[in-house]
């Protein structure tokens, strides 16, 4: 039997609560609506009853909405949260989203776009709680860590899952330390990766933090992913998705072994899909690779310099190597500190192994 989700509406204005409740009865999934007029009462109610969604006002006496949301985020990380406020100040919107709310909606907008508001709520009610870290919707913790490292940022990621708190120290894109559940270093990192959901926030960097992690992030992610895979599916026959996943893991391992940062595989325009690992800027890099090969080949013919062997380029952040092949071109990204001499051979090795 299908269960009805429960929505809790928190607002100090009783007239608004009545109106809001009336409106929510139009939701297609017909959820059960509860209303409260104070933050303290809302928190007490959430301790005793499971709710799917909290709709919260910001401006309230004693405990304001942001305080309620901060507590909710710690105590009920699975709960979906919506801020419904008359405050149009952008600062409040930013602060609410920083607290991991799923939706910020203005009361004035709600009156104008009621259907859209209800559609959003219905979507939040229907979304399966299949993990993911709040703050960046539908991103896994692996994605968040990779984003921080790829952007070479320096930060402290504070992760919260219910009563559990963990921290990851990232300095110049390198993971230097982790702390969780009484463990430290790589052991703590493995434990954190086992968390399927939670919230996170960025704290200021701590450059003087002691280094307890020596392996690269990719290597640690790879090890954890393999360990999780083995735990989750020890003997089940391999599906197409699993085979693709395994292949991705294998390619990631190849990159890690060679100490490469990224690979973009670019087929000719309109002849298949671009494949990429280790970079967010897939389309721009693929476009540049395609153009660079095209321009260089044309120039080679013009000056009769023979076939194009490869292109190498660098800036302060990375070294790039473009290897043109008959059916596709490969762009291999390397860190700036890797010795340039053997890069061509190492890149050729990656390319040769790629589709094997």
């Amino acid at each position: 039997m299908e269960t009805r989700h429960k929505i809790l509406v928190l607002d100090d204005d009783t007239d608004w609560l009545k109106l809001s409740s009336e409106m929510l009865t139009h939701l297609p999934s017909k959820p059960e609506i509860r209303t409260v007029t104070s933050g303290a009462r809302a928190l007490a109610l959430m301790e005793t009853e499971p709710f799917r969604l909290l709709i919260c006002d910001l401006k309230m006496p004693r405990i304001d909405g942001l305080q309620v949301l901060a507590i909710v985020r710690r105590r009920f990380p699975e709960l979906r949260t919506v801020v419904l406020s008359a405050l149009e100040d952008e600062e409040f919107r930013s602060r609410a989203y920083a607290l991991g709310v799923d939706l910020f909606w203005l009361k004035t907008e709600m009156q104008r776009n009621m259907q859209m508001y209800l559609d959003c709520l219905e979507s939040l009610l229907g979304r399966e709680s299949d993990g993911g870290f709040r703050g960046i919707q539908s991103k896994s913790l692996m994605d968040i860590i990779q984003m921080e490292c790829l952007s070479r940022s320096s930060t402290v990621l504070r992760l919260t899952r219910g009563a559990l708190v963990a921290k990851l120290w990232i300095q110049d894109g390198e993971l230097i330390d982790a702390e969780a559940e009484g463990a430290r270093g790589e052991a703590a990192f493995s434990r954190i990766l086992a968390w399927k959901s939670g919230t996170f926030e960025n704290l200021p960097a701590e450059p003087n933090r002691e280094h307890t992690i020596t392996k690269s992030v990719n290597a640690l992610l790879l090890e954890s992913a393999q360990a999780m895979d083995e735990r989750a599916n020890p003997v089940a026959p391999e599906s197409v998705e699993q085979a693709a996943h395994r292949k991705t893991i294998w390619k990631l391992a190849l990159l890690t072994r060679e100490n490469a940062e990224s690979v973009v595989v670019v087929p000719p325009e309109g002849h298949g899909e671009i494949e990429a690992l280790g970079t967010q800027a897939v389309q721009p890099l693929a476009h540049w690779t395609r153009r660079a090969v095209e321009i260089a080949r044309r120039l080679g013919e013009h000056i009769e310099a023979g076939p194009l062997s490869h292109l190498a380029a660098h800036n302060l952040e990375r070294q790039l190597l473009v290897l043109p092949r008959e059916d596709k071109s490969f762009l291999v990204g390397w860190p700036p500190n890797v010795e340039a001499g053997p890069l061509l051979e190492k890149s050729k090795k990656i390319v040769a192994s790629w589709d094997s």
């Binding site: 800027a281 721009p284 890099l285 476009h287 540049w288 153009r291 660079a292 321009i295 260089a296 044309r298 120039l299 080679g300 013009h302 000056i303 009769e304 310099a305 023979g306 076939p307 194009l308 062997s309 490869h310 292109l311 190498a312 380029a313 660098h314 800036n315 302060l316 990375r318 790039l320 340039a340 001499g341 890069l343 061509l344």
Partner: protein, 107 residues
């Protein structure tokens, strides 16, 4: 004198019979518009050819910038020529190195 005369005559006869297009060697500097500002490449090569090299190199730098990957240096390795281009305030300094079997292996 007889020996030198003979040598020059042989060379002259050889060159008049068969000509091999040599690959350009030297360096050129191009401004941000692709105009060749200075060049140490032999004047036997047309200005248009050098301009074409400069223009293509600037296009590679510009499109890399547009792809959010501004580059400081590009090396284009052909089988018989290596072109090394360094970005210089929107223009570029370009080095042309003909390659032979004795040339060092490319990086």
């Amino acid at each position: 004198m007889g020996f030198l005369k003979d040598l020059f005559q042989r060379l002259f006869r050889f060159r008049s019979r068969a000509a091999v297009q040599q690959l350009p060697s030297g360096s050129i500097a191009v401004d941000r518009e692709g105009n060749v500002v200075t060049s140490t490449v032999s004047s036997a090569y047309s200005k248009d050819l050098l301009r074409a090299i400069g223009r293509d190199v600037l296009t590679l730098f510009r499109e890399a910038r547009e792809a959010q990957t501004p580059l400081a240096e590009i090396n284009i390795h052909f089988v018989s020529l290596r072109i090394t281009a360094r970005e210089l305030r929107g223009g570029a300094v370009i080095f042309l190195f003909p390659q032979s079997a004795l040339s060092p292996l490319p990086n």
